[in-house]
Symmetry: C2
Subunit: 171 residues, 2 copies
DNA sequence: TAAGATTGACGGTTCAATCTTT
DNA sequence: AAAGATTGAACCGTCAATCTTA
């Protein structure tokens, strides 16, 4: 037989992969749909309400999470789990918009430190409460306590596997 | 008091938003982490193994899911839940790479139809089995049956709320 | 040489404008 | 006018190259 469907179920000739069961397939499609739509919805609300993107918001949160006035770019990249160059480009754009400033690092001549401007502080103080409401409304209101616990357990299990993709077939 | 933390917990003066509990906060951060890392891991494996991006793959799947030879761009956009212009740009790039072709629509002079080339067929037949293995390895192997069921229920509940964001505070 | 950081080029995504046909 | 589709500009993310200091 030849391969007939290529989504997440089907059959092929050689080296048959372990296709997903109906149940797994439904779960996977539901997850993909939620992921896409939740991200889009939160982004849209953030943008409409504050003019910030979710990426802007994440940077601002990382800057206020650490109580220090100034934060090293390296540490910011670590906290956000972003590539250095992505962060650098994004900081350039946010600096241009007046949300933050770059200052020289006193300890290390190579380094740069980031400081929030007054405008940056104002932006996140405006944005944060509405965003939390959005997350509550779209995610936690429709879930019961067991589901919240399950969500965390599922996410941790998947992350653990990504960190240790050891014991399976792939090279 | 003034607002001290802007992530997903804290306090403010006026109109206090319902901040997330510790449990909710942990679940939300775990979800965000999984989402980012799982997407990156699947994309990286797809790209390395086949030269396709996840977006390319999704388009090819949508084209083979429908058994018809030709698919209208409108229907493709609907199936993928993509914006028309995003899809159009993406089709242009995939056409340039020889994965598909545009043909005129016989029924409707405005329309366009998309057909897979032999190369496009070959690409997805190569990519699909490995991708399913990746999804199985990273997602379903580390989850038990209850968690798979919970994942689907959670995703459906959140999607339902996004479709009907009625009964809460926001305008 | 390696670490911290930035840059330029290129592909991907969004928005508004456009063009054609219904 | 509205639907189907494309286009161009501007913004975002990644990769490889670069520059400076440790």
């Amino acid at each position: 037989v030849t391969c007939q469907r290529h989504g997440y179920a089907g059959e092929v000739d050689a080296d048959p992969p372990r296709w997903l069961s109906d149940t797994e397939q439904r779960a996977w499609r539901a997850y993909l749909s939620m992921q896409a739509r939740l991200g889009a919805a939160l982004h849209r609300r953030m943008q409409a309400g504050t003019g910030l993107s979710m990426a802007d918001f994440d940077v601002l949160v990382a800057l206020t999470d650490r109580r220090d006035e100034r934060v090293r770019v390296v540490e910011l990249a670590e906290a956000l789990q972003w590539e250095k160059s992505r962060l650098s480009h994004h900081l350039t754009r946010m600096e241009r918009r007046g949300l933050l400033a770059r200052v020289e690092c006193p300890d290390d001549g190579r380094g740069a430190e980031i400081v929030l401007t007054d405008e940056g502080w104002a932006a996140i103080e405006r944005a944060a409460p509405a965003h939390v409401e959005d997350v509550r409304e779209l995610v936690f209101d429709p879930l019961d306590d067991d589901q919240v616990a399950a969500l965390e357990a599922i996410a941790r299990a998947v992350c653990a596997r990504i960190d240790d993709p050891g014991r399976t077939l792939r090279p």
